[in-house]
């Protein structure tokens, strides 16, 4: 599903990722490990085409990311669900509206949006929070909304950038559970973290980075 072939991507002189090669198959959750500044976020930004590929090839569901034209980036990004450490929820929108946003962007009908959003809200345990605004939610709830927003469009790939960075251990575990559930629908999930004790019990494959390169 996600295939890196000797990818080098930089956003400033000598800052970025270098010669990365790895593969994440469909329906798998993989952790991206490494200290701050190791290049974890750059890997994710390269996947959603925010950092240009200088060398090598990156394929998402068989599509060569490097050859996607600028005007096709929005369409490409709709294949990807994103979860961020700072949640990136729209403060003026309710929980329901935030989760519905990717479907609104795709121009889905009102009925379909309603059905899908209610379904996903039930799945992540936010049924009672539909009319609340982000400012009325706890950190864990905000991250659930963020995950629900990523899942609602049934993406091929889910990228989670330090999604547990601002959460306490118990809530972090719940978030990981939700991301594992996402793989059941066949999505490839790539989650960056520097919290090794959190992921250790999960016994999942992880990729370790340091200074933009794979640690072998």
């Amino acid at each position: 599903m996600i295939k890196f072939e000797n990818v080098t991507a930089t956003y400033a002189e000598k800052i970025g990722i270098f010669n990365l090669t790895f593969h994440i198959p469909k329906g798998e959750l993989i952790f991206l490990m490494g200290p701050t500044g190791a290049g974890k976020s750059t890997v994710l930004r390269t996947i959603y085409k925010d950092v240009p590929i200088v060398e090598g090839n990156l394929y998402i569901d068989g599509e060569d990311v490097g050859s996607i034209r600028h005007r096709h980036v929005p369409r490409f990004r709709r294949k990807i669900g994103m979860v961020f450490q700072d949640y990136r929820l729209i403060p003026d929108c309710t929980v329901f509206e935030n989760i519905a946003l990717p479907l609104q962007i795709e121009g889905k009908t009102k009925k379909l949006i309603k059905d899908k959003v209610h379904g996903i809200m039930k799945k992540v345990g936010l049924t009672q929070r539909g009319n609340h605004y982000p400012s009325q939610l706890s950190g864990g709830e905000k991250q659930r909304v963020s995950i629900a927003r990523a899942l609602v469009k049934k993406p091929l790939v889910i990228l989670a950038d330090e999604p547990t960075g601002n959460l306490d251990p118990n809530v972090s575990d719940e978030i990981l559970d939700l991301l594992e559930i996402a793989t059941e629908s066949g999505a490839a999930v790539l989650m960056s973290t520097h919290n090794f004790p959190l992921i250790q019990p999960r016994r999942k494959r992880f990729i370790e980075l340091n200074e933009g390169r794979l640690v072998t």
Binding site: P74, R77, R78, M82, I90, G107, K108, K110
Partner: protein, 290 residues
């Protein structure tokens, strides 16, 4: 497509309601700019009206030789009448000249010198496009060259001065109007840019979720249009109150007939929308590079 459009329109309205204060500030800024602009335009139109009114009194006076008989005098008058730049004229025969003399000096010339030595002639009004010192000078030159014409003149000194004063006033008004418009555009676009700046994170999030630039831009432009219309409404209301105040309080004191341009409502709406659209586009372009 329709679902998207309905969502975007309703989102624009909700966004406007959610950001009441900045939207109100923006609308008032547009409104104030429009009020200043309308007053400048109103002053300009009235000055133009008064200058036309004043210039409509521009005349050329022509005197024929005294030995010309009445028929030749009439022919000469008609020849002048069909010249370019002459709007209309009044033929003055000897009898009429004598009456004019009496009305000016309160004495009959025939009683003074026993005969009427006054020449025939004519008074000519000038067509609108020729009401300036240069054109009138040209006409007078042509008339003077005609056979039977003794003298032709106009108040060149006064007209030159009036022309220059009017030109200066209108020039200054025009420069002032353009300056006000540019300042308004900058002021309004900066206000709208500030509003959009507060939405910068939302714009980035939408881009990451796969929203196209037009999807992001549409509600902001609709918001801008609504703010422009509200600003125009605010301006028109204020202008109406100012006009009522002027009619009620000032008109009995200062008898100055003022022309109220009929297209002011249309101009307010057009400039309101224009200011808001330029402002929105300037604001958005910073965050949505092509």
């Amino acid at each position: 497509m329709i679902n998207k459009l309905i969502f975007l329109l309703s989102d624009s309205l909700r966004a406007l309601l959610r950001t009441k204060l900045p939207a109100t500030i923006s609308s008032i800024t547009i409104g104030i700019a429009l009020i200043i602009f309308s007053l400048a335009y109103f002053t300009y139109e009235n000055l133009l009206g008064y200058s036309h009114q004043f210039k409509s009194r521009y005349r050329i006076e022509v005197f024929f030789y005294t030995d010309l008989d009445l028929d030749k005098g009439r022919d000469l008058f008609n020849t002048i009448l069909i010249m370019d730049g002459i709007a209309q004229g009044e033929f003055i025969d000897k009898e009429r000249a004598s009456k004019l003399f009496t009305s000016f000096f309160h004495e009959n010339i025939e009683d003074i010198i026993g005969a009427n030595p006054l020449p025939m002639g004519g008074r000519f009004d000038i067509s609108k496009d020729y009401r300036n010192s240069y054109e009138m000078k040209e006409i007078v030159h042509q008339i003077r060259r005609m056979e039977g014409v003794d003298a032709a003149s106009f108040q060149q000194g006064v007209i030159s001065r009036v022309d220059s004063v009017i030109e200066n006033i209108l020039g200054i008004s025009l420069v002032l109007g353009i300056t006000i418009f540019i300042v308004s555009v900058v002021l309004v676009s900066n206000t709208i840019r500030l509003i959009i700046h507060t939405k910068q994170e939302t714009i980035e999030t939408l881009q990451l979720l796969g929203a196209t630039n037009s999807f992001i831009r549409f509600p902001l432009v609709v918001e801008g249009i609504i703010q422009g219309l509200l600003g125009a409404g605010f301006s028109l209301l204020t202008l109406y109150l100012l006009s009522s105040f002027q009619e009620y309080l000032l008109e009995p004191l200062i008898r100055l007939p003022l022309v109220r341009p009929a297209n002011l409502i249309m101009y307010n709406l057009i400039f309101g929308l224009l200011l808001a659209l330029i402002g929105s586009y300037r604001g958005i372009s910073k965050y949505l590079p092509k």
